[in-house]
């Protein structure tokens, strides 16, 4: 999903910065407020950020014969919501742009939008809808993380299509061309990311379900049911 350095022409790189930066700024504000009000969220925040660090560093081979990487943002989106997750994502994207020539500083706005905002928003909404519909907690986490990953790559395809419309067929035709690169490649990766996120979430529920309940991520009833299912 990294759009390479210099590969977004004017005015697109500015547009994506204009859309992303206010979200990240508000995310920083929300993050500070949350930590001040509730110190016990800090370790979980570190874990969610570290999870993005690990997953986005893994370039995995896919069935299409090319490699891509998960995003790891689903976990943060579920626990902290998209605002704060955008901050976690931009930290990783800056690291990769500066040290790895992966992504770029001029495309940081667009990449933050796809990985740090669009993906997490989808993940957050899917999680809320799935838990409200009464799905099993870990299935809800799986769906949220999988779709957050996949949505990120679809948004990257849209961003590139808008910037490089095809001579014949326009934006739609070039969206198909970019999605052909990203969408299928990402399906198995997104599924792996979903399962791993669900597993990680299970460990957090086991260890600190009290914090998750206080943050309104999981209801007390759900925790009770999970514990009864094993007992």
């Amino acid at each position: 999903m990294h759009i390479m350095e210099g590969f977004l022409p004017h005015p697109w790189w500015e547009i994506w910065f204009a859309l992303s930066l206010p979200v990240v700024a508000f995310g920083v504000y929300k993050m500070n407020k949350m930590i001040k009000e509730n110190r016990e969220t800090l370790p979980l925040l570190a874990v969610a950020g570290a999870f993005v660090f690990v997953l986005s560093s893994l370039k995995l081979p896919s069935v299409t014969g090319s490699c891509s990487h998960p995003t790891g943002t689903g976990m943060g989106a579920i626990i902290f919501g998209p605002w704060i997750t955008s901050v976690l994502a931009i930290i990783v994207l800056v690291y990769q742009a500066v040290f790895l020539a992966h992504g770029g500083l001029t495309t940081l706005g667009a990449n933050t939008f796809s990985m740090g905002i669009a993906g997490p928003v989808i993940g957050y909404l899917v999680y809320k809808a799935a838990t409200r519909a009464g799905l099993h907690l870990y299935l809800a986490v799986f769906l949220a993380a999988t779709l957050a990953d996949w949505a990120t790559y679809l948004v990257t395809s849209i961003q590139l299509a808008l910037a490089f419309p095809a001579a014949t067929g326009g934006v739609l035709a070039s969206f198909e061309a970019f999605a052909a690169v990203f969408a299928v490649t990402q399906v198995p990766l997104a599924i792996v990311e979903g399962v791993v996120t669900a597993l990680m979430f299970k460990y957090i529920v086991q260890l600190r379900s009290d914090v998750l309940v206080r943050m309104n991520v999981v209801s007390q009833n759900t925790i009770k049911r999970l514990k009864e299912a094993v007992a």
Binding site: F7, V52, F53, S57, S68, Y138, L207
Partner: protein, 113 residues
């Protein structure tokens, strides 16, 4: 398992990972691919769409001088992340253990007195 959860999710994860590896083994044994990055392939699509006229207008400020150094920096990223996750999960686990052991310790303390 006292106070624990079932291992079902671990088994599912293992199954998915095995399937993922099997898919990779199958594709790489039946077809020849470069296993390049999808991000780089998007660059080729841009080149196709613009007839090769698009020139990136900005260059990366730093380029890892070799594949080795690039993988070093990627591994570093993963290592830092894993370290933080392991540290806090271990911290939480110990905390839960201490909490669980506390009533027992207090009882012992009382019986001593």
């Amino acid at each position: 398992m006292k106070g624990g959860f079932s291992m079902k999710l671990e088994l599912i994860t293992l199954g998915v990972v095995v399937l993922f590896i099997a898919a990779f083994a199958y594709v790489s044994s039946n077809q020849t691919h470069e296993w390049g990055g999808a991000d780089g392939q998007a660059e080729d699509v841009i080149s196709d769409l613009t007839g090769g006229t698009y020139q990136p207008w900005f260059q990366s400020i730093y380029q890892p001088p070799s594949g080795e150094i690039e993988s070093l920096l990627f591994s570093l990223q993963a290592a830092i992340g894993s370290l933080i996750i392991g540290y806090f999960l271990g911290y939480y686990r110990a905390l839960a253990k201490i909490k669980a052991a506390k009533p027992a310790l207090e009882r012992e303390g009382k019986s001593d007195a």
